[in-house]
Symmetry: C2
Subunit: 206 residues, 2 copies
């Protein structure tokens, strides 16, 4: 399969969310118009996005909800579980570690690390915060699938270097810095402060 | 000033962050190369971005750190405070309400609302969670500058409609749904699940 562009992947995630709602209600088919309406895009865009994966919809009948949802889960790599390590046990790290919505999609937070003695040893939902200095020894046979960096800005690159050294290939970064990583490592950034500043820019220039 | 494209605004936010670090260390000038290195972009891009706001850097001397930081704060609308309301007092809402980093940039969470009786009345750092049904009465003379929607997915559009009715013009949305709003309202989305799925896609198709 050819490489799919990032905005398309995001739309697929959204479509999957809607399809799973429909599945929950027992709806068996859905039209491209309905998906477009929910995803704030056009029916033509939906059809184009979904045609990447072969012919699904039947003209006049719509898409079969369970089959399309299963196909999207497969494409997005959601048919398996991922072991997730959270580095940084501050408020953001804690909210992430305790957030049930990730586990329900197969992202299982199995490890939480912090450098601060006051935080090491705390237990959240049965998960104990470990000393980040022990991280290397915790993964003798392989790295966590995904690491979430929720450290202060000035510690983030050092933590990222350690994660890369462990063999981590996917990082979700909450620290407000750019992380430099090798080409085979994927980093996605969640930066609430930058989103807020985009809003203040919009308010300032209305 | 002409409208600046979103990716440029995001880079300006990042540059500002670096400049403030330099300010903190007492550094008086910075080169486009240094900003580019920190922001994972090119020196040419930095110079292009900053030239939008008039001539700043002197060839061979670099940019004056405090002046450039002040100019970026002005452009990004950060020279004033914003009153922020958080709707949804779950784990995400709580982490946001208690996060000190927003207040230090002028984003002041002054109100937290929830619909659930068990949450209404809780106090976090002196901020009391109020019943969302009272929201309309809390703003007789004007809306919060920014509202953060941190509700479950199925409540988010209804909350957004109420916020728009109050006159809110800027929404930061953490709910995993697209919010439909009028054209004069700006919505930015923070969707950790979608970022995680972009990572699982990357792992699946390595």
């Amino acid at each position: 399969m050819r490489k799919i562009a990032e905005p398309t992947i995001r739309r697929l995630s959204l479509y999957l969310r809607f399809l799973e709602e429909f599945e929950g209600r027992g709806t068996l088919t859905v039209s491209s118009e309905e998906l477009a309406h929910r995803g704030a895009t056009t029916a033509a865009q939906v059809r184009k996005d979904l045609s990447l994966f072969g012919s699904f919809g039947k003209r006049g009948l719509g898409y079969p909800v369970p089959q399309l949802a299963a196909r999207l889960r497969d494409i997005l790599g959601l048919e398996r579980d991922y072991g997730v390590a959270v580095i940084g046990a501050g408020k953001v790290g804690r909210a992430l570690a305790q957030y049930g919505g990730f586990a329900s999609r197969g992202f299982r937070v199995r490890w939480v690390y912090d450098a601060h003695p006051a935080k090491v040893g705390m237990a959240w939902n049965g998960l104990r915060v470990r000393d980040v200095r022990l991280m290397r020894d915790d993964f003798p046979g392989g790295a966590p699938d995904i690491a979430i960096v929720a450290t202060p800005a000035d510690a983030a690159q050092d933590v990222a270097d350690q994660l890369v050294g462990l063999g981590v290939k996917a990082i979700l970064n909450f620290a407000p810095v750019h992380l430099a990583v090798p080409h085979d490592v994927t980093v996605k950034n969640v930066n609430m402060a930058i989103e807020l500043e985009a809003l203040s820019y919009a308010l300032r220039h209305r």
